[in-house]
């Protein structure tokens, strides 16, 4: 059907509409409409964050604020002098967990996504089964896994005994506690990242793979040189999300090990909780929170930078 003169939008008309749209987005009406969201964000996020920074400069007494004293950067200095568990040791524990979750989680979820990407009703059922752990409550499933890892009655040791292997003190040994928590966390989190990868695989060009196969590429070469590069933006997204959530992970450490044994699972998040809500060293805990915020923000910025340079 031919386009008539009336149907075609005039250049002037487009310019007017564009100006109006721009004015709508920055005008007082737009600000008015944004105010409720801004107010909520300010009250529940920006102000508490700023207040946390203020508290970090005080020897804060939560029971009687009038007894709080300004100590400047002393809480930040204590981060590097505080006794066991030190800030550095907890940061390393956090990095251990984060590395396990990011590297292990990304590899496992990509592998599962590749296996499930072919489709079919049976595989759809498997996709649901893989995703279901992610929607279960962390506290409830952590408790279930505490029982799985119970040295005397747990399923994990029952399997080891069945295989005639020695029982393991999963959550009560410094060397196995973190791997045990990583196992649980991967079980819980992988479903989400599998879905992200499946989304990425759905838009990967089949023609390129076909061309590679015609050129004699085997399955591995096709994945490594054709599929994987096309999944790079999705992988970066998964890595960013996994890094942030792993650095902030708390529930499983609280429920399964309480940071033990012998501080083997005391991450920065757990240390922060302990200092703030068990020992009530509020100022020190606020300094920890500020540092954790900065570390997370830096990681995220770094990953966004990498993403931008990769895309360009």
């Amino acid at each position: 059907m031919a386009t008539t003169q009336l149907d075609r939008p005039s250049r002037r008309g487009v310019a007017v509409r564009s100006r109006r749209r721009s004015r709508d987005r920055s005008g007082p009406t737009a600000v008015l409409f944004s105010l409720p969201a801004l107010a909520i964000f300010a009250i529940f996020t920006i102000l508490p964050t700023a207040y946390t920074f203020v508290i970090s400069l005080f020897d804060w007494n939560p029971l009687n604020v009038s007894q709080s004293t300004f100590i400047g950067a002393d809480n930040y200095r204590k981060l590097f002098a505080h006794s066991t568990p030190s800030f550095a040791a907890s940061a390393l524990t956090s990095l251990y967990f984060t590395a396990g979750m990011v590297i292990g989680g990304t590899a496992i979820s990509l592998a599962i996504a590749l296996l499930l990407s072919r489709g079919g009703s049976w595989l759809s059922g498997v996709r649901v089964a893989v995703f279901v752990p992610h929607v279960t409550p962390l506290v409830a499933t952590s408790i279930v896994w505490v029982w799985i890892f119970n040295p005397q009655f747990g399923l994990a040791n029952a399997i080891l005994r069945w295989l005639h292997l020695p029982a393991v003190d999963w959550l009560d040994s410094s060397s196995t506690a973190m791997p045990a928590i990583l196992t649980y966390s991967l079980w819980h989190e992988v479903g989400f990242t599998v879905v992200i990868f499946l989304g990425g695989l759905a838009v990967v060009s089949g023609e390129l793979g076909e061309a590679a196969r015609v050129d004699g590429a085997n399955r591995w070469q096709e994945f490594w040189y054709v599929t994987w590069p096309q999944l790079r933006p999705v992988t970066l997204f998964v890595v960013t999300i996994s890094t942030i959530s792993s650095l902030q992970a708390f529930t499983q450490f609280f429920v399964m090990t309480e940071g033990g044994p012998a501080h083997a699972t005391t991450t920065l998040s757990y240390l922060l909780y302990q200092e703030a809500f068990v020992f009530f060293h509020t100022g020190y805990a606020a300094a920890l929170a500020v540092v954790l915020f900065v570390v997370t923000a830096l990681f995220t910025l770094l990953q966004f930078r990498t993403r931008r340079s990769t895309l360009s």
Partner: protein, 424 residues
Amino acid sequence: MRKTRVAAALAVCALGAGGLAACGSGSSSGKTTITFMEAMSSGTLKTSMETLTKRFEKAHPDIDVQLQVEPDYGTLRNKETAALSASKPPTIGQVYSDWAATFAKSNVVVPLTDYAKPADLKALYPSVRDDLYLPADHKLYMWPFNKSVVIQYYNTKMLSAKGKSAPKTWDEFAATARAVSGKGNVGIAIDPGGSAGPAGGEAWFEILSQAYGTPVFAADGKPQFTSPAAIKAMNYLVGLKKAGALTLGKNYPGQVALGAGKGGFDISSVASYYYNSKAVGGKFPMGTAPLPTGPGGTQANQMAGTNIVMFAKASDAERKAAWSYLRFLTSADSQAYWAQNSGYLPVTPAALPKMTDFIKKNPYQKFAAQALTTAKADPPYPWISQAQGMLAVAMQSAITGKQSASAALGSAQQQAVDAMKSGQ
């Protein structure tokens, strides 16, 4: 439209008024309302607390007591601290004595000196009475509530199968625990707790150290974790672990193993009787006995449990009403009812004649009450809980073989001394 607006405005006003009436304590229509934040949240503890409170309200129609029940002690402390931070504390609250020391240091609790008469104090067991004062100014800040000591629970069937009976000394205990272990059974399962807070296993370590001659805290609160007695106590536990007679766990592992018929013993509070009996569920006769003794028959036990403090924000009328309630709770009648239904021990010997039939049926109450006369509470200083958490970490390190007993205790001692210095 106008009608809708008026209705909405009225609803807001009604909600606001209701909220204001519900918030906090105070006096209205001649009735004084007091709030009591506590953690008696499950089983017979909850129902007994509610019954006692109803009895009090019936006897004092001018006082309304609102129980603010928290699920556990950790949450209780957080809620009390949050309420104090918001300047809206309850009238009275359940506390461990080191919390009371922290609260008193911040001037948010008041001494009970003006209320408690010498006769009120004389009625209490001396060990219970001594635990009510804070060393900073030697004033009476607390009133007793739920008190307990530690006893041994055991699987009589498992012990008699090995020709054993309830051990009388800690050496006998170790031999019996070793004898019953193996083939999926373990002598005892314990949870030392962690850096965030100690659990029952840590309390047992404190008792062992005391039985071997030196308590882990001096009377002035100074940590004594590296004493020969403490090292001997730690090596005792390490030896049990190496022999396969002790295992670590979480969430009352001793009770779980005993209840499943897989554990020989549980060393736990007398208040666990109800929960242990429920776990065993009649599968075998559950034995109870006093704690074994140390070398030379040294008896050692720990008086655990909490007291009650009065917060400084309360008005004079509320304080007066709260004191009536506290006095009611420690009366002989109330304590007899409380002990028979909650499993805790009465804080006054005057309750014992009112519990004759109960004691006949539950002999453990008699030897536990006797232990209360000699048991010691941990000294009330702000750093004690944190230092106990450090001991729990030392136990984890030593028992799992990460460090030697003396190295683990040495490290805990250093940290506890630092905590003491910063808490003073």
